[in-house]
């Protein structure tokens, strides 16, 4: 195949690759939510060792580049797992763990924003620790956590682009392939960027709207 023009087929190819970006994002977000919930529980646990573990978990995942984490998982899994794992699995795992650290930070912050007295009040009417979280703390924390959690989805989607560098064919890697055969990198990558923008901008807007709406009545200039 020689050099050819950037055609409608390339557009279709890029749009097709977008589904891998979306799939990876959904897996990482859902997985990150589940793992993140567990780590959050560890983070607010009354057992010191668990708290310490959750803290270092977040510290390591947020204090190192996602790209490095991807490379390390890639080599670890190819070396130590006897069966050949699909790149999807490696990418999904690395992104899930990375997302879980963000989730933990967001949810911990939201829980800590709930006044201490709410815990005490719940405890004083005889609720167990689990009941306190389930009935009193979590419903309030969810409201605070909603906007940043939606915002996290944007971070996750953007993060999937780095899997292109370990050879996973999603939107960015597809862009590299298309620009390789068409020699039209500007048009190709602008189109790729436009697709990302279409995915992320609405999410950012929703996140901002939720944030504004939930703060109505709390901000002095509006409430007073």
């Amino acid at each position: 195949m020689g050099i050819r023009y950037f055609t409608f087929n390339d557009v279709l190819y890029l749009l097709d690759a977008t589904k891998w970006t979306l799939l990876l994002s959904v897996i990482a977000f859902a997985g990150g939510g589940i793992v993140g919930a567990l780590i959050t529980l560890a983070r607010i646990s009354r057992i010191r060792a668990l708290r310490w573990f959750a803290m270092s978990y977040v510290e390591v995942l947020q204090g190192t580049p996602l790209l490095m984490q991807l490379f390390l998982w890639f080599f670890l899994l190819t070396l130590f797992v006897p069966v050949k794992l699909p790149a999807t699995l490696v990418a999904a795992m690395a992104l899930t763990l990375n997302a879980s650290s963000f989730v933990t930070e967001i949810w911990r912050g939201s829980i800590e924003a709930i006044p201490r007295t709410q815990w005490e009040a719940a405890a004083s009417i005889g609720m167990s620790r689990f009941e306190q979280i389930k009935h009193i703390i979590a419903p309030q924390a969810v409201r605070i956590a909603l906007a940043p959690t939606v915002g996290l989805l944007v971070i996750v989607i953007k993060g999937t682009s780095l899997t292109a560098l370990i050879g996973f064919v999603e939107l960015t890697r597809a862009g590299q392939l298309v620009s390789g055969v068409t020699f039209e990198p500007l048009r190709t990558f602008s189109f790729v960027a436009a697709i990302y923008l279409c995915l992320c901008w609405p999410l950012s807007a929703v996140s901002q709207r939720i944030e504004r709406r939930l703060h109505v009545g709390r901000t002095p200039e509006r409430g007073a």
């Binding site: 510290e59 390591v60 204090g63 190192t64 580049p65 996602l66 790209l67 490095m68 984490q69 490379f71 390390l72 080599f75 670890l76 070396l79 130590f80 006897p82 944007v154 989607i157 953007k158 993060g159 999937t160 682009s161 780095l162 292109a164 560098l165 960015t172 862009g175 590299q176 620009s179 039209e184 990198p185 500007l186 048009r187 190709t188 990558f189 602008s190 790729v192 960027a193 990302y196 923008l197 992320c200 901008w201 950012s204």
Partner: protein, 229 residues
């Protein structure tokens, strides 16, 4: 299967790692300084009276924040030569980092400027300060001080983001990890060591920016008017 870890093989290339760290830090520091400048102008444009400037700043921030940094780099490095703008890898990387981080800095600094109350500006003007003086001493300086913690954590994120510029061939820490790994095939050891280096850099930058902040804003505590704040 047994795998024997040989970290010694990594440390034989210690000089490469050192060079990588130096390049990573240089990019991070230079890009941070420049992006605070970009962010200040971005924030001012956002609050300007000219609608066109407001819209331009808004569009800049939204486009940059809603697309991956890697794709932005590809546009700068592979895309721009198509229209005759040929940046080298280093310049493309620096431009990319500044544009990317500048968008986040714009939002951070904007929130700082917003927190300066109108009455303070009026007070400044009423005691005879010029508009420029009010701008420097009443608006920008307190605004930057207020958002200093946010800018510091953005600095760490920027340092971590520099790993992505290895994708366009800039020789920083992540690239050197790749070079070492293709030379001695000790991939896991190399990446473990480099992840540790990044973690240490993060911790150093965090405490470093805290110390810098304490030194920069020490006059606030020394000030005789401190009790009025």
């Amino acid at each position: 299967m047994t795998y024997v870890f040989q970290f010694g093989e990594v440390f034989r290339y210690w000089h490469w790692l050192q060079e990588g760290v130096a390049v990573t830090l240089t990019f991070a520091i230079v890009a941070m300084i420049l992006s605070v400048v970009v962010g200040t102008f971005g924030a001012l444009a956002r609050r300007s009276r000219h609608r066109a400037l407001q819209v331009a700043s808004r569009i800049y921030v939204e486009i940059i924040r809603n697309t991956p940094f890697l794709v932005q780099l590809f546009i700068l490095f592979f895309g721009l030569p198509a229209v005759g703008i040929r940046l080298g890898a280093n310049l493309a990387a620096l431009t990319g980092l500044v544009l990317y981080n500048g968008a986040f800095a714009t939002e951070i600094i904007r929130s700082g400027i917003q927190a300066v109350h109108r009455s303070q500006i009026e007070a400044g003007l009423s005691i005879g300060m010029s508009r420029a003086q009010v701008f420097i001493y009443v608006v920008i300086r307190p605004a930057l001080e207020k958002v200093y913690p946010a800018l510091s954590s953005q600095f760490v994120l920027l340092m971590l983001a520099t790993s992505v510029i290895s994708a366009i061939g800039v020789d920083e820490l992540t690239s050197f990890a790749g070079h070492i790994q293709t030379t001695n095939f000790r991939s896991i050891e190399v990446y473990v060591v480099c992840i540790c280096i990044y973690l240490i850099l993060t911790l150093i930058l965090r405490s470093g920016t805290r110390a810098l902040g304490a030194w920069l804003f020490a006059y606030r505590r020394r000030s005789k008017l401190a009790h009025l704040r």
